[in-house]
Each structure stands twice: as C-alpha cells, then as structure tokens.
Amino acid sequence: MVITCMDDVTANPVIAASNERGSRVARVDPADIGPDLTFSAQIGADQVGWTGSLRTLTRDVALEDVQAVYYRRPSPWRFHELPPQEREFAKSEARHGLDGMLAALPRCRYVNRPAAVERAEVKPAQLQVAAEVGFDVPATLITNDPGAVREFAAKHAPIVYKSFRGVPAAPGGEVAAIWTQRIDPADVDESVRLTAHLFQAEVPKTSDARVTVVGSRVFASEITALDGTLDWRRDDWDRLVHTPIEVPAPIKVAMRFYLRRFALAFGCFDFALTGSGTDRQRTFLGCNPNGQWAWLPDAPAIAAALADTLLEG
C-alpha cells in the first residue's frame, strides 16, 4: 500500500518498481475518506489482528493482506464542507481511526512508520542521537534567551540561525521560507524570548553531501552550489552539481545506528563537507526521515531499493 496524494510524482517510480516485482499495489490517500474511501475493520472475539477492507475508487484491499506500507505524502485532511468544530472532530477522529489503523496493521513492513518519522523530525532528538552515534555535530544552541545567543556568538562566530519547522501559511495562503542563514548577533533582540530558537556555529564547508539510506543500501551525492550558497535548498536547482561519492565505513555504521535508534528503514542525511582527500570531514547537519530523493541522479536505483525493502525487508 502506498499512502500518498495524487500530486506526489515521487511515489510513481516506487509503484512502478513494485509492479515489476509482481506485487499488487494500492495507492491510498486517507484524506479521501468519505464516499471515495470506505473502510471497515474488526479485532477481538476470535480475531487477534485487524481484519477488514479498505475500498478506494479503484481498489478493494483486504487489510489483513497488506504486507508493506510506503508512507509518503498523504494530503492534509479536507472536510472543507464541515463547520469548524465538526471539522476538527472529523479530523482528529480520522487521524486516530484511519491513519492509526493503517499504522497498526499486523505483520506489515513500513517505510517508514509515521510515528517513527514524527519522532525523528525533531531537531533536538536528531542532534542528541547524532552525537551519541559518533557524528561530528556543530556547536548548537537552542534557547529563548538573547543573552545566551550573544555569548554563543562570541565563542562560535560566525553563527547561523535555523528554524525547527517551516513557516505556517499567511492568512492569504502565501508561504515564506526561512533558509539556514548566517546572522549578525547585533540583530538579536528581546523577541528571541517569545519562543525557542536554534543557532549553530557555521561550518566552513566547501560542499554538501546528501546520503540517502534505504534498508542496507546507501546512495551518496556531493552537492556543490556554483555560487556557494549556505543552504543549497534555496539555490537555483539548475546550478547545483551532483557528483557520486563514496561513504567511509565508519559513517555508514553511524548512519545504521542512527536509523535503528529511530526505527527508520529510510532516511536522508545531510552533511557539510570540509577539507578534501584524506582530510575530508563530514559534519552532521540533519536527517530527514521523509526527505525528497527524486531529483537525485540515483533516483531510479533508490526507487528500486525502496521497492525491494518494502517487499523483502
């Protein structure tokens, strides 16, 4: 079962690879719940695992037959036609009753379990586990105390600011981004006290590495931004150069421990690269448990590895 929205083009190659391997795939978007998605499942009495059915417009799935779930990008709940209180009720009931059911299927492999993704998205947890498994982690400060930011900057300048999450949409629907950026500590004021902020010593990197791990397989690209931007995600994508790179064994081992700690079968690691040749250092920047990978040169191999992991573990 592939849980995602219709506009998710990245699910297609994984579905195609699964079809090629002879499995029967159902593409399901839980937000379709209503006339277009009906489900019913039972447990208890003589049932020790959930059994039942989930019917979409094109598939009728026996829940007990689902062997693997690829959890990608389902749509947010809709319920647009309901009044606000009813809408919130419908959302939370669907989140627990339907999403919860699809996350609790017996004898089913998940890439990844949504609860594991949720835990692994939290930056303080990422940095704690990264430090424990032996990655180099940049000096990091999380605080709402402007004085602490100034002290940190005095010791570690230049420093960067990163938000934990994206910016919620403005009332008109406009979405803005906060890219990782160098900051001047003189700009920091009392408004830091309002909420949590993350600051990090800037890594004097020459390039980045994106390492995608699927099960036991590792796909690594060095990403060079031609204009030397700090955060390559903001760059003009035509101006990024991808080069396949080898990942040293100790880094592979640390990644395996990291993913195991979070119970993930898939993860996209970002490292800052400094130095070159035998002096090359890799500094952990983050690991996105549901990262994008379709733009990478390795995309066809990653899709195949995902299908293999889903079908064989």
Binding site: V2, C5, M6, D7, D8, V9, A11, N12, P13, I15, A16, N19, A26, R27, A31, T58, R59, R73, P74, S75, P76, W77, R78, R95, E121, P146, Y161, S163, R165, G166, V167, P168, A169, G173, E174, V175, A176, A177, I178, W179, Q181, I183, D187, V188, D189, E190, S191, V192, R193, L194, T195, H197, R233, R234, W237, G291, Q292, A294, W295, A299
Partner: protein
Amino acid sequence: MTITSTRPWGMTRMKPPLEAVTLPWVAAELDETTQLATYRDADGHAVDTVTCGTFVTVTTSKPHDGSGNASPVADDSNTDQK
C-alpha cells in the same frame, strides 16, 4: 519583564513569500491497473514527470490538498500542516 514585540525573532529571518509554482499539469488521474498517477497538461497531453525535471527537482511543492496551484512549501522543512 514585558516583551513589546509580537513577532518571534526567527520570523524576522523570513524571506519574501515564495512565488507560486505552476504545476506542469492541470489534471491527475489514477490508472486503475497500475495505480500510477498520470498527469495531463491543458491540451490533454501526458506530462512525463520523470524527465520534466522542473517539477521533481524543486524541494518545494504546493500544499498538496488538491487546492490547485498555490504557493509552494519548503519540502525539506515540513510545516505542521496536517
């Protein structure tokens, strides 16, 4: 101590709203047999999402709630939209 600002400091680091990304397709449909989504442009032609790199290469995408073309969100920094 009172804080006069109502805007958390981090939001002062925000870049101007991202431009809306126009998807290279106007319609998406699900193939009943393969469960692959197929995409069509305004003229009804199939859009090849594998080679039309313009879409899969961006790390931003519109909020995928079926609301049509909209401002994108930064995919690698998920918002709490669900």
